[in-house]
């Protein structure tokens, strides 16, 4: 017998719910709950992680992310302007940089600056500087593309109006075009910060002293010292969410605000 579109949609929904319930049940039945209890949700043994994971780890993750973002924002703006320049050499340099740093794993960049550069030039950089440069250079590439799109989204008439008032090109960019571009890219820029927060965990490849530990390093250390299995990583993960979920909400707020002003 033929079904109406609405009946078909309802049947399809029931089938989907059914599949989901079966999948969850299978997962629950297949799980070795005793082991999981000991090695993933073993919250009885993680006491020693506190308060340092909070006072040191969270603080360092925030600092590393912030420094990387500051470098990434400045570098990204410079690269975006180079990419839109009428001077071909600038465009080539920017394109090469962006393609390279978006193409290689961030981990390799950390290793290159953490071990390669000190070896090659006989310099000894401190961890904060290495993180700032590694994270900043990777972030620059991503932020550059975001900002380029933002700069291009500012109507041409804005630059023309500014120039017709006698503003030189750079002044028109600084006072008129760039502020509007930033407003446009606020949501994707906030998402970049979320990605950076997570990428800052890559400093685990560097040799860190206790005061330089970030959240992930605390989690990894906890695995080997506390005998609570993977539980410390779960704790570290929760702290990341403490940072990233508010950022996510912020991005959504920016998005709805710009949707409202765009009428």
């Amino acid at each position: 017998m033929a079904m109406t579109a609405r009946q078909r949609a309802r049947v399809s929904l029931y089938v989907q719910i059914g599949i989901f319930v079966v999948a969850v049940a299978a997962l629950v039945l297949a799980t070795d709950w005793k082991t999981v209890g000991n090695s993933v949700f073993n919250f009885g043994k993680i006491g020693p992680m506190f308060p340092d994971i909070f006072l040191v780890g969270l603080k360092n993750t925030l600092i590393y992310t912030f420094l990387g973002f500051v470098v990434g924002l400045s570098g990204g703006l410079l690269l975006a302007l180079m990419k839109l320049s009428s001077f071909p050499l600038y465009r080539w340099i920017a394109t090469g940089y962006i393609e390279f740093f978006r193409g290689v794993p961030a981990l390799l960049v950390f290793i290159a600056f953490g071990y390669g550069v000190p070896l090659a030039f006989g310099v000894q950089w401190n961890v904060t500087l290495i993180v700032m440069i590694s994270l900043g250079m990777v972030a620059s590439a991503y932020i550059a593309e975001t900002l380029r799109a933002g700069l291009q989204a500012v109507p041409k008439g804005q630059l023309e109006a500014a120039r017709s008032l006698g503003m030189p090109q750079w002044r028109a960019m600084v006072s008129i075009v760039i502020p509007q571009a930033f407003k446009i890219v606020l949501p994707p820029l906030t998402n970049e910060v979320i990605l950076l927060t997570k990428d800052s965990s890559l400093i685990y490849v560097l040799g860190l002293t206790a005061s330089q530990y970030d959240l992930t390093k605390f989690g990894r250390d906890g695995i080997s010292s506390l005998g609570a299995g993977l539980t410390p990583l779960l704790v570290a993960g929760a702290f990341y969410l403490v940072i990233t979920i508010p950022l996510s909400l912020l991005a959504r707020k920016f998005e709805s605000r710009s949707a409202r002003t765009k009428r």
Partner: protein, 267 residues
């Protein structure tokens, strides 16, 4: 419309009107020659309306005067500046030329007053206090003194265009260029903008106006220039060109513009 009636009271009598002289101006985009040897003089304090069908090169001509477009050939003088001289200080010249765009192009991240002050402080290096005073004066001049803290998206099209005029006036220009200033407006706000422009003309500003408002051209313009296909087809006293055109192309154009049943499609 009440709020613009007294706008000429704001006139400080400081307009230092400049003339414009355009000789054999040519401009091409690729192989498309848009201006095919235009010559046009505007005396200080004179109001010239440019009319002509869409695509005839009116905007391009206007944009060449303040070098938003680079002319290929010919000479343009604006006040004391030779715009077409290779060493001309473009930014300095543009300070003396106000431009009003069809789409207003107000800065959406700044309120009306800041729209009027930003170039004053950054380009003319006026103090914020002085710039504020000039901005307020010019906003009052266009009848919007009470809306100086509104952002562009909180203003009607006609109000935005009047802020754009105040923004240009705040630089004390010697010449004003208008590129179809009322074409993007709702009919009921057109009158306010035209009335501001009429007052400006009375105050002695040199004005070069691209418009389809034949009533305005007839009443305010000293001269009307009809362009078609990148050349000046006919020019003369406003009343004569509009009421008694001599060229067939002018007649045809005016017939279509003045015929209320004809629907003009403008970009």
């Amino acid at each position: 419309m009440n709020d613009v009636v007294n706008s000429s009271a704001g006139n400080t009598g400081t307009i230092n009107a400049a003339g414009v002289s355009i000789k054999d101006l040519r401009k091409s985009y690729g192989s498309n020659e848009v201006l095919k040897g235009i010559s046009l003089d505007v005396a200080p304090g004179e109001v010239v309306c440019l009319i002509g069908p869409s695509g005839s090169g009116k905007s391009t001509l206007l944009r060449c005067v303040n070098l938003l477009e680079q002319p290929n050939e010919g000479a343009i003088h604006v006040g004391g500046f030779e715009a077409t001289h290779p060493d001309v200080d473009i930014d300095k010249m543009r300070r003396t030329v106000g431009m009003v765009f069809q789409q207003f192009n107000l800065f959406p991240h700044l309120d009306a007053k800041r729209n009027c002050t930003i170039a004053q402080t950054k380009v003319l290096k006026r103090s914020q206090e002085e710039a504020d005073k000039v901005a307020q004066h010019n906003l009052e001049r266009v009848g919007l003194g009470h809306l100086s803290d509104r952002f562009p998206d909180q203003l009607s099209g006609g109000q935005q265009q009047r802020v754009a005029i105040a923004r240009a006036l705040s630089m004390d220009p010697e010449l004003m260029l208008f590129d179809e200033p009322t074409s993007a407006l709702d009919p009921e706000t057109v009158g306010d903008v035209l009335s501001v422009m009429r007052n400006l003309a009375k105050e002695g500003m040199t004005m070069l106006v691209v418009t389809h408002e034949m009533g305005f051209a007839r009443e305010v313009a000293d001269r009307v220039v009809f362009m078609d296909g990148g050349v000046v087809v006919e020019e003369g006293v406003a009343e004569q060109v509009i009421s008694a055109p001599t060229q067939a192309r002018t007649k045809e154009f005016l017939r279509r513009v003045l015929d209320p049943t004809h629907i003009e499609i403008e970009e």
